[in-house]
Symmetry: C2
Amino acid sequence: MSTPESQPTSEDAASVSKKAAKKEAAKQEKLRRRQEQEALAAATRSLAVDDEQDPLAANYGDVPLNEIQSKTVEDVSRWTEVGALTNTSENRSVLIRGRAQTIRAVGKNMAFVVVRERGFTVQCVATVQPDTVSRQMVKYVAGLSRESIIDIEGVVSVPSVEIKGTTQQVEVQVRKLYCVSKAAVLPINIEDAARSDAEIEKALQAGEKLVRVNQDTRLNNRVLDFRTPANQGIFRIQSQVGTIFRQFLLSEGFFEIHTPKLIAGSSEGGAAVFRLDYKGQPACLAQSPQLHKQMAICGDFGRVFEIGGVYRAEDSYTHRHLCEFIGLDVEMEIKSHYSEVMDIVGRLFVTIFDTLNKTCEKELEAVGRQYPFEPLKYLPETLRLTFEEGIQMLKDAGIEVDPMGDLNTEAERKLGQLVLEKYGTEFYILHRYPLAVRPILYDALPR
Amino acid sequence: MSTPESQPTSEDAASVSKKAAKKEAAKQEKLRRRQEQEALAAATRSLAVDDEQDPLAANYGDVPLNEIQSKTVEDVSRWTEVGALTNTSENRSVLIRGRAQTIRAVGKNMAFVVVRERGFTVQCVATVQPDTVSRQMVKYVAGLSRESIIDIEGVVSVPSVEIKGTTQQVEVQVRKLYCVSKAAVLPINIEDAARSDAEIEKALQAGEKLVRVNQDTRLNNRVLDFRTPANQGIFRIQSQVGTIFRQFLLSEGFFEIHTPKLIAGSSEGGAAVFRLDYKGQPACLAQSPQLHKQMAICGDFGRVFEIGGVYRAEDSYTHRHLCEFIGLDVEMEIKSHYSEVMDIVGRLFVTIFDTLNKTCEKELEAVGRQYPFEPLKYLPETLRLTFEEGIQMLKDAGIEVDPMGDLNTEAERKLGQLVLEKYGTEFYILHRYPLAVRPILYDALPR
């Protein structure tokens, strides 16, 4: 916390008399000192929370903007990640940075702050102590706004009782606390946004009305909603799905392509496309990478995949977001039978499920706390059923389906239920659809 | 090679007299036999190349379309990849599938076919031999069209002299050869498309005029041009760049996001955007993921990256394709200094360069044969120069540049040359640009 200094003006005094120059210099010096004092006072006012003089004022306060701009290269290992704070850190002095998730004062001598960093939370306590924490500091801490970014220097302690509501089972005894970036009063509390419906219902039955954050408020404040443990988990799981998808396919001799999304004409007949003007020529957004994937195969790329945007202008009547989504696409040569594709697809999904369960345990748990779900049931070797077998299972259950027609959503759902009951899996491949429903494309061969 | 059979028509004969039914059946049977014989004769004609009867006709020929459709599940390990054929395969019988890149007959008893699979090529020889290869077969082989997909069963031999023009240093003595997919006469020969300008010039000086495939022909026949070793290399290297980029960033605590490209308004002020109609509302294509990346950081994602499409409607005056390209984007929180970003970026690029050199040696070589280039010169630790130092180097070399202005392309190129001479690297980071030229954004902090 340095105090800003005003620079003495260096005037060319050559044309002025020596005396006048001396007088002028003294005046300038006086002015400089007054400015310095004023600046110091202003800084002190901003650091301390009341007008009382605080000899420990240097231990807390708002960091001025010019201080957080890149000044000196610091060793970033000075900071300890909140997620790394365990009881092995006991009695160690640490420096952490995170958001003030909740702030609670207990009288005038103690204040609690839960600090959150990347989904991990830790409880920090500022208690009045002779040489480190003043009453003013506790008042300052109690006055922090939620979601402000703060730096805390403190000593790790391990309480004898379980700490509820934080991911880390240690406490930080605050020695210094600076606010790096002050948050305004926000329309969403992360705690509220992180609540499950079940929790709200349960509290309601016990006579307590908890805040429910509605979908429109979440979407209007997307950045704040991102900060819930569930959303932190969802986005990390999404990233991991892409990673597993790619790693599996790369290991099977595929490579990644990026096909154009801005194209002339429509990429598939029939469905509505987003049209746009490309410098006077009609263009549209690709509804599928199909054509370009097949070009890649005709071009002897052998096995390719793409993770990229897909654009569809159809009106959407379901809760699925159709107009823009990320497609995970695969295209491969086959030697002699389409079962070669089923083999890749079957193993690909099992690898994704297995690896997610292994590497995203915490993230799945975080999502499940807000949106409860059952773990996916699947077999180590993916079940394959023919369309005919599927139709037969539906018939046996008393559901009549056109053996030459497509399955509607309800029939698909019912079949899924029957398969789960009979084979114990929620994931299976249905193949040998009638030609009229799902034609197989032979475009991969040159003509 | 099965012969197509016509099915006898099963007519309901109940209403006809027994005699008439018998007569009708005999007539049908006769018709069926005649059709069968005709089909057999037609099949034989298509298999053999002339009318002479060939007892070895089963060893070669065109595979009929219905035969290449998925019939029985075969063990794909029956096929050996062309790239896997080495002298350790000597005397082994192999089955390979690939494109007939070049076909050459030597008299009536011998024909050569160079088979190419995923950029690897091998020479195959069909020589007349009593129990396997007939004269008709050699004629059939000699008559194959370039780029047709063929299956060859043969025995691997290792010639005593070097084989020029193929990647594999073995030969396959053909026993059986079937054409799986016949190519039409194509507008481009892959050999021609794969030639470097230098090769064409050299031949011209020696009095030989080689075919030069122009850019428009390449673009009009993109799928064929994909098959050159250089393009096979370029696309594989491109995939590998993405892979290294991701792996490095994942290992540094980043994760991958996919930001919307179909957005309301323009993502950056100023530059021209592609506008489109989104169900009656104005929309446009994202010119940059900047805003959404920053939302991710404000949402406490910490460190994110994206590989995705970028759309810019500005007129392009350079050879760079601006309207749609794949951007490799990174966004991260910093603790105290932007040097943390330079550290990541510096190590990221060195990792990409190092890993490409290690894992894409063959691909880089293939590209270099058609488009000669020097290996990139770079330092294990990326050089950092301040804008001021850069300006000084240009000044020292007699080039005057506005110290508060941006560097134009020519000045950048000149500086690159000076840096290469002084520090021996073509890759460096220039930082501390004047604020007016490259403002640093502080949007990652909540306000």
